[in-house]
């Protein structure tokens, strides 16, 4: 009993954190944003440490519907730190009314909790419930922004497309259940590879993946991304762009691993989605003026790169996606940190607003440079190593032409990424703009992010070895 509690400790802690924050939402008196911020910050820091400590945990819980292995624990750790980083950049939460701050932290926590359940779920119903828990929290967070006309539009679009994707996913799961007669992934894994050539199984699988494609903003479910990125409060978008994406990648690996790796139908679907997603994301991003919209389209393109790693359907492919997920998290947090610091009243930041950033705040400019170059995939950042690993995995499986296509796309994407860097480094500061003051904790966060980005780029081996072991754990779900 006690043993099981220890295994479940990270989730229990985040549940406790949600309860504390709930207490703050119903506390009487004037809103106290500093108190809310510090409570959330301290709790999420403890949570991140607990997830780090639980990395070695292994076992089954809840009638084997819940599995702890290196894969799930590694992702829980990423999620825990992701939440911590997002709360770190929420000290200046101007985009949300002060009386709603406790709710903001509460729903961030419940969403993270849902994602933690998600990466451990090895049963379809559990998986669906966990996915909904994380999505519903986001549906509430997105329209929370104060004083903007775009937020309701973004919230409604997000909700409707999300509900649509969930329904499609549930329908697909019913097919998988119909084909395999079980909801346990371990049993599906033994039966599905033999049936994967039948149309029923392929349809079920593709429809099930649709729910995750929505989370990752893969091509046919991408329309929410630009509006949600533009309409949501900056910190909420930072969460959606980082932590939420990471959970999507994790569970995509889990589900695709079920098919056993030789389904031509499924491969073709994934290849087409990857190609269209990459091209569309990169081409449309070129025209964007708003930095968040640009990041939205770049996230659509990145979802395409991730699919490339996933459709290799090999251990190396999955491991490279895990690595890429972490790199993507850190790079996006870096970009959003700069964005949040730049935006004085919680407003959106245009690319032109970065003009002369190197004079106004040299440290922020360096972080932005590394973050953006990382997303573009330039060495020596984590983004380069992540893309490199994914492309290697795809080439090993004989998708050379697909990798060349992705390379062309990366080159296209360089154009708009460098546009951001150009604004920050080459354009003169706008008239009357003052230096941006950076507090000491923020300064430390900057240094930490810079170090992690470079470390991910230069010394991938330690983490990649762990990712490989984690990928083995997924493939050996029995």
């Amino acid at each position: 009993m006690l043993n099981q509690v220890i295994l479940f400790l990270p989730e229990l802690f985040f549940l406790f954190m949600a309860l504390v924050l709930f207490g703050l939402t119903v506390a009487s008196g004037e809103p106290k944003p500093r108190r809310d911020y510090h409570t959330a910050l301290v709790l999420s820091a403890i949570g991140a440490v607990i997830t780090l400590g639980s990395i070695g945990a292994e076992g089954h819980l809840f009638f084997k519907a819940y599995r702890l292995d290196l894969f799930s624990q590694l992702f829980k750790c990423f999620l825990g730190f992701g939440l911590f980083l997002v709360i770190c950049i929420s000290s200046k939460l101007d985009g949300i009314a002060e009386r709603h701050h406790p709710e903001f932290y509460l729903f961030l926590t419940t969403s993270t909790l849902g994602m933690m359940l998600l990466v451990s779920a090895v049963e379809l119903i559990t998986l669906f419930v966990a996915l909904e828990l994380s999505s519903y929290s986001l549906y509430i967070l997105v329209p929370m922004r104060k004083g903007s006309d775009h937020d309701s539009e973004a919230g409604i679009k997000f909700f409707f497309i999300g509900a649509m994707a969930s329904a499609t996913m549930l329908f697909g799961m019913s097919y998988i259940y119909g084909v395999c007669h079980t909801t346990y992934l371990a049993e599906i894994m033994t039966t599905l590879p033999q049936l994967i050539h039948t149309p029923g199984a392929v349809v079920g699988m593709v429809l099930t993946l649709c729910g995750l494609f929505f989370k990752l903003a893969v091509f046919p479910f991408h329309n929410w991304a630009p509006d949600v990125y533009e309409g949501g409060a900056n910190q909420v978008v930072a969460f959606v762009a980082t932590v939420s994406k990471m959970a999507g990648m994790a569970i995509l690996i889990r589900l695709v691993a079920l098919t056993g790796g030789d389904s031509t139908y499924l491969m073709n679907v994934l290849i087409i989605l990857a190609i269209v997603g990459m091209t569309l994301g990169n081409l449309v991003a070129i025209k964007q003026k708003d930095f968040k919209r640009l990041l939205a389209y770049s996230s659509i393109a990145h979802a395409g790169y991730v699919l490339l790693g996933i459709l290799s359907m090999s251990e190396i492919g999955y491991a490279s996606v895990i690595y890429y997920a972490l790199a993507y998290l850190i790079l996006n947090v870096a970009c959003f940190m700069v964005l949040v610091t730049m935006s004085e009243k919680g407003q959106n930041v245009k690319i032109d607003d970065f003009s002369g950033l190197y004079k106004r705040a040299p440290l922020l400019a360096v972080t932005l440079l590394l973050g953006v170059f990382g997303l573009a995939g330039l060495p020596p950042t984590g983004g380069f190593t992540g893309k490199f690993l994914i492309f290697i995995a795809a080439i090993e499986k004989g998708y050379l032409w697909l990798v060349i296509f992705a390379m062309v796309n990366v080159t296209i994407s360089l154009y708009y990424y460098i546009g951001v860097v150009k604004a920050a480094y080459l354009n003169p500061p706008a008239e009357g703009s003052e230096p941006i003051r950076i507090s000491i904790p923020l300064r430390l966060l900057n240094y930490a992010l810079i170090i992690v980005i470079l470390w991910l780029g230069l010394y991938p081996s330690t983490l990649f070895d762990q990712a490989k072991i984690a990928a083995e754990a997924v493939l050996a779900v029995l």
């Binding site: 709930f22 939402t25 119903v26 009487s28 039948t198 149309p199």
Partner: protein, 127 residues
């Protein structure tokens, strides 16, 4: 695609056709047998046989809407208790009881939240 599979998918096609039929036949029938004359009541709004009065463009009290929403939420939550009845006490009754308490307890949080946020204070419509 062997014969066995084709047979399976033939059933799906059959069900699809029957499904379309269920939708289409009543529409066609009503076109065929409905009276063609247009009288005073033909285009009147139909609401369960009640004769409508006044305009629908009136202001409703928003506070009632919140009540209705919360009622609906709990109404649906009660449905989740029915499957519990079937499984309750099958092998370990204390655990079932604790789980039920957790479920209802979490729902209770929603009431506390609504209460603290003043949803239950009836706001008089002014103007």
């Amino acid at each position: 695609m062997d014969a066995f599979l084709l047979k399976d998918y033939f059933f799906i096609l059959l069900f699809l056709l029957v499904g379309i039929g269920f939708g289409a036949v009543p529409l066609i029938l009503s076109v065929l047998i409905s009276p063609k004359t247009i009288g005073r009541d033909t285009l009147k709004t139909y609401e369960s046989g009640m004769i409508p009065f006044g305009s629908a463009w009136v202001q409703f009290g928003v506070s009632y809407y919140l009540f209705a929403l919360i009622f609906l939420a709990f109404d649906v939550d009660v449905l989740y208790l029915f499957p519990v009845l079937l499984a309750y006490g099958k092998d370990f009754v204390i655990r079932d009881f604790v789980e039920l308490c957790i479920f209802v307890g979490i729902l209770a949080f929603a009431i506390i939240y609504a209460w603290r946020k003043g949803v239950f204070d009836w706001k008089e419509l002014t103007g």
